[in-house]
């Protein structure tokens, strides 16, 4: 394990306003497949404001300390789902985690890639297996009856049944925090079950039986051991374990 110390404040002073600054260390698990045989830690000393996002700090490292640091990011406010990472040992979105919530002045923030998916470079992992599981649950609305000229009618209560599951942004925080998924990658995982829930409990969808059959396979809901890691990891506050339990009950009674 190599520890490297980098100079701070290459960033222009003008960027920093007169707010009190936190002096923190950010310790990142690095891996470059073209250079490294295994991952190693690097530590950067950074000045940050308490209200900065962890993603702001990681960008600061990339822009002013080490241009080769590699990670995914896009929207910067927790809706695109690109920047799931292990921050101080917990799965979170870097853009939805504030520095003040994970570090004090003089403290250290540790950052690692999410677990259970192959690390391609630094914090960037292979997302294909995750999206393959997503596609396996038929993640699309199915209703072959002729559509009316206007909308299909759905009550407010029926629409609300999808409120939690349709909130998912496919960031993979849940699935990659699941101990069952870590040991068995063929488990569809919490994110895919949440997606299945969104359609199983949609009063307009006609493929409930097919979806329940998928959930009943040995890669489906019965793998879940209610560790609750997924619920704790979800940056959208989706009660994932509860939704999985609802799907289990629907499979058991073969109805939504």
């Amino acid at each position: 394990m190599t520890q490297m110390q980098h100079e701070t404040s290459t960033a222009p002073a003008a960027a920093k306003q007169a707010l009190p600054m936190l002096h923190i260390k950010i310790k990142i698990l690095r891996f470059d497949p073209e250079k490294d045989r295994k991952a190693h830690w690097e530590t950067y000393a950074i000045e940050a404001q308490a209200g900065d996002r962890v993603l702001d700090v990681i960008n600061e490292v990339k822009w002013y300390h080490d241009h080769s640091l590699t990670f995914r990011r896009s929207c910067m406010h927790g809706i695109c789902g690109s920047d799931a990472m292990l921050i101080n040992g917990r799965n979170r979105l870097a853009c939805k985690t504030l520095v003040r919530d994970v570090a004090k002045d003089g403290g250290t923030i540790t950052i690692e890639p999410i677990r259970g998916l192959k690390v391609e470079k630094d914090l960037l992992v292979d997302m294909e297996p995750f999206f393959d599981s997503y596609k396996a649950i038929m993640p699309y609305f199915i209703n072959e009856s002729p559509a009316p000229a206007a909308e299909r009618i759905q009550s407010e209560e029926e629409a609300e049944r999808m409120a939690h599951s349709s909130n998912c942004i496919l960031c993979a925080c849940c699935t990659t925090s699941c101990p069952i998924f870590w040991v068995n990658g063929s488990y569809l995982g919490p994110a895919s079950i949440v997606q299945a829930h969104r359609f199983i409990f949609d009063s307009r969808d006609e493929a409930t039986q097919q979806r329940l059959n998928i959930m009943n396979q040995n890669t489906g809901v019965w793998r879940c051991r209610t560790a609750y890691n997924c619920t704790e990891a979800c940056p959208r506050d989706i009660p994932i374990t509860q939704l999985i339990e609802e799907v289990k009950r629907a499979v058991m009674y073969q109805q939504a």
């Binding site: 290459t10 222009p12 960027a15 470059d32 497949p33 073209e34 209200g51 996002r53 990339k62 822009w63 002013y64 080490d66 241009h67 080769s68 590699t70 990670f71 990011r73 896009s74 929207c75 910067m76 406010h77 927790g78 809706i79 695109c80 789902g81 690109s82 504030l98 391609e120 470079k121 960037l124 997302m127 999206f131 596609k135 993640p139 699309y140 609305f141 209703n143 559509a147 000229a149 206007a150 909308e151 299909r152 009618i153 759905q154 009550s155 407010e156 029926e158 629409a159 999808m162 409120a163 349709s166 909130n167 942004i169 496919l170 969104r198 359609f199 949609d202 307009r204 969808d205 506050d237």
Partner: protein, 583 residues
Amino acid sequence: MQHRYDVLVIGAGGAGLMAALYAAKGNVSVACISKLYPTRSHTGAAQGGIGAALGNVAEDHWEWHMFDTVKGGDYLADQDAAEVFSKDIIDAVYELEHMGLPFSRTPEGKIAQRKFGGHTREFGKAAVERSCYAKDRTGHMILQTLYQQNVKEGTMFFNEFHVTDLLIEDGRCRGVVAYELATGETHTFHAKAVILAAGGYGRIFKITSNALTLTGDLMSIYYRKGLPLEDMEFYQFHPTGLAKLGILVTEGIRGEGGILRNVDGERFMERYAPTIKDLAPRDIVSRSIISEIREGRGVGRDGDAVNIDLTHLPREVIEGKLAEITDLARTYLGMDPVKDLVPVQPTAHYAMGGIPTDLNGLCLSDGNGGSIEGLYAAGEQACVSLHGANRLGTNSLGDLVVFGRRAGIYAAQYARQVEFPDLPDDPQSGTKDLFDGLKNGSGKENPALIRKEMQESMMNNVGIFRNGPDMEAQVEIIRELKARYQDVNVGDTSLRYNSELIEVMELGFMLDCAEAMTASALNRTESRGAHDRADYHTRDDINWLKHTMAYKDLDRPGNVQIGYKDVALKGFTRAFEPKARVY
């Protein structure tokens, strides 16, 4: 590596996914190239709704929507596009519902609708409930639903591929070249038709609601070929971004009854828009907020924001219909809209201008009806021009659904009729030149500093309030930044997942967009919609009721040539004469 598809879609946001879906229905082979994973695109950040005259909550008609769109655009919107749009969007929203989109519902079980800025009944009499919504995450649901439908159709996706060049020869598009992030490999995509739908470029500004990835790549690539960008001076600042962060706070919160207040607690919009107050269009609300701040009535430590007040609304409305922004305020500001006033300030949000197209999405090569065969564009990237000088809230989601669909349909129709065009002899030569240029400079310039200076200077000099001297200074600043960009350092030399190379390339694209915007804004000596000049403070219909077409001067680098294009002042059945724009 080389690939061949009848229709190639660039971008996997709402417009791209809609185009891909409709091209696939047209019985042609379709692939979608995106620099992100699908569902990461910024359509997902849209919150408040998609406007359509369904009349589910109050009487409404497409003519009213068309009028509001034209007036909202300060009469620079093409009225033929506005008419097509206002009619088509009604069916398009029902179609989204038929695709399973989980809309919020009325007590009768219909699609719920709420008020939104600039949307009125009876041609401006009072606000009307027109915005169809799924809580305050309508864009998220549109993006998810359209991706789901593409999974169902089996659309081929090339994820994390960055387009580096458009292959256009003799006025015909022949495909694109793209760089694969995972391998560093350059791919040639041979196509009969290409649809550009890669979104906007808000990252040229310091405070923006836009994703880091919104860098105007395809606009710049188009512009570098000597082809025009239309109406680049018209850029929307959304009135309510979270203070300091710029994160979008939906207009839907004013649609639900939220009120903007200054430091004295005054509902100041009553002074600026007496009839519809807080629900005036965005350009007007943004200017009103900046005026309050400049006159010393701002809030916060720096006095550079105003408050949005929801505290009089029931908790269940705030936590139910406005769950997203409640979460954002709690997460980023530690404030609870149920009991706290939330500080907001205008944030760079949306490009009204872009790649000029006709009503079918076909890209235009000049202001006189010339076009590029086989090349289409839709969504924020394109300028059809539906939004004119200022876009109404909800009309961006509507635009990408309606015109994404049209581009998909017409591109597929074209592709069915033609053979594959010949590829250029050395299709990857432009891309090779691009990368060589980035690697061969002296490497003494940090791209992050150039980017930061561009963002700050664009915010100061070509922001909400503009004037000639500031913009003239900005022309020089952009020239200087472009010169420094020649010596930029690409600090990562690796082949695989070289995100630094991408960021440097994107900076070059953004500098082009900033150049075209500044030149277009300096050239337009009037104030209209989002373009407001202290030195030319009135709208001038005699001289300026026309679209700007900005061309890169290929012989004199750093210069921009300006041409014009007529505004369609009539629709197919309705026409609205330009009038003073009061609300």
